[in-house]
Every structure is written in C-alpha cells, then in structure tokens.
C-alpha cells in the first residue's frame, strides 16, 4: 500500500515538474510567438499585433503567479494554443496529425527491436562465447556509431545508389492520405528504411541486458534442477531461465514505449519523416513556441503513462513486488 502511495506521489510531482518546465520555456527563451509571427509577416499593423497578443495570451499581463494560474486553467480545459508557424491551426490539431506517424513507425520498430534483441540475448546468454554471443560486438558497434551517420549512409546506399527504398518523407507526395491501398503501400515502403535503421542501432541494448541477466539466472539452482529432471533444452532455456531473466527487459521495454513519442527525433529529421520529432525541429527553427510546448507536454505525458504501465506490469510479472515495499 505504501508502495502505491509513493508511486502516486512520484507521478504527481513528475507531472507537475513537466508542466512547470513547460511554463517556463517560452519565458526563459528570447522573443515571443508574436515577434516570431511579425518576422514572417512584417506588414502586420499595430492593431493586428495587439489582437495577436491577446489571441496567444502572451501580453505577459499580471504577475508570474497570475500567469501561471492562467496557464494551468488553460491546460486543464485542453486548450494548448494556436501554432504560429501553421497559423491558424491549433496545436492540438498539429499534434493529432503528427503523433500517429511517430507512434506507428517508432512503436513498431521498438517492438521488433525488443523481440529480436531479447531473443538473441537469450541465445547468447545460454551459450556464452557461442555463435550468437559473437554477434554482440557487431551490434554494439552499430549502437556506438552516431545514428544519423549510419542513417545517411543507409540513405545513400539503399535509396540513392540502389533505388530500393525511398529515403525521404513518410509517403509519396500527392498521394491522398487515408485508408486506400496506394497510400498504405507507399507509407509502408517509406517506413522500411527508417524502421530498419532504428532496429539495427537499438537492438544491442536489449541483447546485452538479456544476455547478462540470463547468465546470472542460469547459475540458479532451479535451472540446474530442471536440467537434472531431463527436460528438453528448449524448455529449460525458455520456460525456466528466460522467463525469470526477462523481468528487467520488460521494465525497460515499457519505458522505451514511453520514449517512442520523443524517441527517434534524429531519425525523423534525417528522413524528413512527418512525425513529432520533425515537427518539433521545425517549431524550434521557426520559433513556434505553442507547438514546442504542446509537443513537450505530449512527450512528458507519454513517458509518465509508460512509467505507470511499467509499474503495473512489474507488479503482475513479479510477485515479490506485491509483498515487498522496496522498489
């Protein structure tokens, strides 16, 4: 019980911290959204500027405490403001069109990377120094390489030289976005290269952790007992050793799902993929503070949700956490 209260307290404080950091971002940074709009549209009159000031609520009237209160009440009513670079689109609609792209691509890539990496980790841990263990340094090398460098080389080879996959954007420009065959196949073709680069560079982490826990688990008495009973190797490996060794990986996986929204920022910039990361990048280059703030909130929310998910999974998967308060 004490454990649950402590975790709930953590979520409350973390959410408050995220919201507050978000509040201070535009106040610490130089310039305001209206100034950013003025730079794009210098013909605006003073009256129009005044109207925009009110529209964006950046007149900075009242004390900081007052502004903070107004910010919180806006937030709770679900109003995230209006994008200055894509005016008059609301931030909510900008998020609505970009989040699905990131969620689908990075989410799928994270799942594939987790499954493949964990499986390879089980095999590598089962036979230390064996065939699969030899793969580990190669994957680690890929992980230690700057991601964008690998991605650019991949675009050069697979897209520009061999014309196998497109290396730019999320779909063929001019396609009608919707549930039709042409669009879906185009989106799939565009997703292969980004997804493959993410999988290849992120697998080593899952593999290494699984391998190391697996090796420790194999030394346990119950694994030896299972072997002594004459169970098949596969059964001992998966049902006895891997099943117990997978806990840390599952906790990591839940967190990784949370970072999916923030995750492949560099990937989206390299591939000009129409997701959250690319939108954030554009918002930063165009001083679009409302969109920046909205994306930060979305990312923080996703991560906190994933933490909650990790907690729940842990309590279900590991009975010890239910009796022991220590985390």
């Amino acid at each position: 019980m004490q454990f649950i209260i402590r975790r709930l307290g953590f979520y409350a404080v973390a959410a408050w911290a995220a919201v507050t950091v978000n509040f201070f971002i535009p106040r610490v940074l130089p310039g305001t959204p209206v100034e950013a709009m003025l730079a794009q549209h210098p013909q605006l009159t003073a009256a129009a500027v005044r109207a925009l000031d009110i529209e964006f609520g950046v007149g900075r009237q009242g004390s900081l405490v007052h502004q903070y209160g107004a910010y919180l009440s806006q937030l709770f009513s679900g109003n995230l403001g209006v994008s200055t670079s894509a005016y008059p689109a609301t931030v909510t609609s900008v998020l609505g069109t970009t989040i699905p792209w990131t969620l689908m691509l990075v989410g799928l890539a994270t799942i594939v990377s987790f499954v493949l990496g964990t499986l390879l980790g089980i095999l590598a841990g089962w036979r230390r120094g064996g065939r699969f263990d030899q793969l580990l340094p190669a994957f680690t090398f890929l992980q230690a390489t700057p991601y964008f460098f690998l991605a650019l080389v991949a675009i050069q080879l697979f897209s520009n030289d061999w014309h196998l996959f497109p290396g730019y954007g999320g779909y063929t420009l001019g396609d009608h976005i919707g549930f039709n065959g042409a669009f879906i196949s185009s989106a799939l073709r565009h997703g292969i290269l980004p997804a493959a680069t993410i999988i290849v560079t992120s697998m080593a982490g899952w593999m290494l952790q699984m391998r190391n826990v697996m090796i420790t688990t194999i030394g346990e008495d119950y694994v030896l007992a299972a072997e002594a009973k004459g169970l098949s190797t596969r059964r001992v490996m998966f049902t006895y050793a891997a099943r117990n060794a997978i806990l840390p990986n599952i906790a990591g996986f839940a967190l990784a799902i949370g970072f999916v929204v923030a995750g492949a920022l560099v990937m989206e910039i390299v591939f000009s993929y129409p997701g959250v990361g690319y939108t954030l990048y554009n918002a930063v280059t165009q001083d679009d503070f409302p969109v920046m703030q909205g994306i930060f909130l979305a990312i923080s929310g996703a991560v906190l949700l994933a933490c909650l998910l990790a907690d729940v999974i842990y309590v279900i998967a590991d009975p010890r956490t239910r009796t022991r308060a220590a985390y």
């Binding site: 230390r128 090398f141 230690a144 700057p146 694994v223 920022l265 560099v266 990048y281």
Partner: protein, 321 residues
C-alpha cells in the same frame, strides 16, 4: 586503489597494483588502448595538424580526394579533413570528459547520500532522480542549447550533465543500499566512525567499478548527443569537433556526391571512440561480475562439451586466500 591500505577486511578483494592491470579482461584492455590513442590525439592533435583546419582555398571548386599532400582529402572549400579531425577530436573528447566528470560527481553525491542516509533524504532525492529520468533529454537539449547563449564546451557540458546524471545516481543508490546493510559497515559504525568517513572510505571504494562504468557510459552519451546536436544544427560552428565536421560534410552534400573521404573519417572516428568506451564498459562489467566473462577460450581445455548450467570456471592466481 591507494585507499585500499587503510581498509578493514572488506567483501571485495582488492588486487595489488601490478595484478590489477593483469586481471583486467581483454575487452577492457582493447577498449582502454583505443581510448588512450584518442586521448593522445586530443592532447597533441592540434600541434601535429599539418594545416589550419579553418583555412580555405579560394581556387577549390569541389572536394578533392586524398593525395599525399592532403592525406584525407579536402572539403568543398579546400579545407584539410585530416587537420579538422586532429583539431576537432580535442573538443569532442574534452566535452565527453567534462560531462562525464560533472555528471558522475552529481550522481555520486546524490546516490551515496540517498542510499546511505535513507528516510526523508532518500525519498526526496529518489523523487528528484526519477523526475530527471522521465524528462525527455534530447528535445529539451535542443531547445535549451538552441536558445541560451553558449560559447564553449563548459556550458554545453553543464547542460548535458544536468540532464544525464540521474540514471547513474539511481544505480549508485541501489548499490549503496545493499552495502549499507553489510556487517563491516555496522562494525565501522560501532567503532564510532563518522558518517562521511564511512561513506568515503568504506562504501566508496567498493563502488569504484560501478562508478567507473557510469563515467564511461556518460562519456559515450555526451559524445553521441553532442554529435547529434551538431548535426541538427545546435552547436557552435566556429569551432571544430566531430559533430561540426559531419555537419559541414552533410551541408556540402558530401553524401550525395560520394565524397567519402569527407564524411567517413569523422564518422568512423566517432564510432571507434564509442566502441572503445563500450568495450571498456564490458570489461568493467566483467570485472564486477566474473560470470559474464567469455569462456570460449577456456572451454577447449575441458574434455567434455561445456554446458550452460555448469558452474562458472574460476581461475585462481597465486595462493588461495
């Protein structure tokens, strides 16, 4: 290891100075050797660079492939790639060392305090660590470094370590929690040692490999993040480092026109530097947990096939204690 002399019998066996190097796993030796080369280049690189890295050749129209004069070719403006690399490595390595040092000090201070004191201090510091873990680092870095005025490596290192210390703090806290319950700590307490003395001389030496691994991990994070930030365009482009070289290569269309000598050397240098750090971390892991050691070399000596459930072979050196 100098403090080991004053230690009471502790659970970790501390080898003597000469043995320590020999006991290092092979992976750590290889990683350390590569890293040493990079550190050497970081120190003497600018002195042995054949050209001024920022020098341009007004006659140059396109990047030129390697010649005897320019060993790694030139950029599209006639700059010498080798010189840029030699000069740029210093900044990258320095940033890594600075970030790793600041972040490790932060995680040591918070992790040890939280783990050893427990109670309210632990609750508060753990909360702080968890909040920093869930903050999205890269987007926040882009916004912070993109707008705040910054000129050198130190401000960048401070921002990087402010967002990168929390994971290590959690690991150190967890380890301190398990060490706190050991008998020798209780004995030290009974003899009336002061809290800071117990933490610094009894607990800290037993966490050296953990802290070192944390340092190396943060080093890698700093290198990869700073290179990624430079690529995105968030960096000081009047200086040379691995990230800015790659940024200019990408801007100069090096990838499209096939000027491999422009983008492959900095990319491979970053990968090698990263790899050396990962190898070093593998080695440190194996030092702390002998089970993880690769036993392929040892297997051949056994008559029957080695089975995964066999006990871990332990090699004894010198008289058994």
């Amino acid at each position: 290891m100098a403090v080991a002399v004053s230690l009471p019998p502790s659970p970790a066996v501390v080898p003597r100075r000469g043995q320590f190097l020999r006991a290092m796993p092979a992976k750590a030796k290889v990683g350390g050797a590569i890293l040493a080369v990079f550190v050497l280049i970081a120190i003497i690189g600018p002195a042995i660079a054949p050209f001024d890295p920022s020098a341009t050749n007004p006659l140059a129209t396109a990047p030129a492939p390697p010649t005897l004069h320019h060993l790694l070719g030139t950029t599209s403006t006639g700059g010498d790639v080798l010189s840029q690399l030699l000069v740029g490595l210093r900044s990258s390595v320095l940033l890594g060392v600075l970030t790793a040092s600041i972040a490790t000090l932060l995680s040591m201070a918070t992790g040890l305090t939280a783990g050893f004191l427990g109670g309210v201090a632990d609750e508060g510091l753990s909360l702080l660590m968890n909040v920093f873990i869930v903050l999205p680092a890269l987007p926040l870095l882009i916004v912070l470094l993109g707008y705040l005025p910054h000129s050198g490596d130190l401000p960048t290192a401070i921002v990087l370590s402010a967002l990168g210390w929390s994971w290590g703090a959690r690991v150190i806290r967890a380890q301190t929690l398990t060490l706190r319950g050991r008998d020798y700590i209780a004995a030290a307490r009974e003899t009336g040692e002061r809290t800071w003395r117990i933490v610094v001389f009894e607990i800290l030496p037993n966490e050296v490999s953990l802290i070192a691994a944390n340092f190396v991990g943060t080093f890698l994070y700093a290198i990869l993040t700073s290179v990624a930030l430079a690529f995105i365009g968030v960096a000081n482009f009047s200086t040379w480092n691995l990230g800015t070289i790659l940024f200019w290569a990408q801007n100069g269309n090096a990838f499209n026109i096939g000027a491999w000598w422009w983008y492959v050397p900095p990319g491979v240098a970053a990968a090698l530097l990263g790899m050396s750090l990962v190898l070093l971390n593998f080695g440190l892991d194996e030092l702390g947990n002998p089970r993880l050691r690769d036993s392929s070399g040892r297997r051949k000596r056994h008559q029957r096939a080695w089975r995964p459930t066999d006990p871990t072979p332990v090699e004894r050196r010198g008289p058994a204690t």
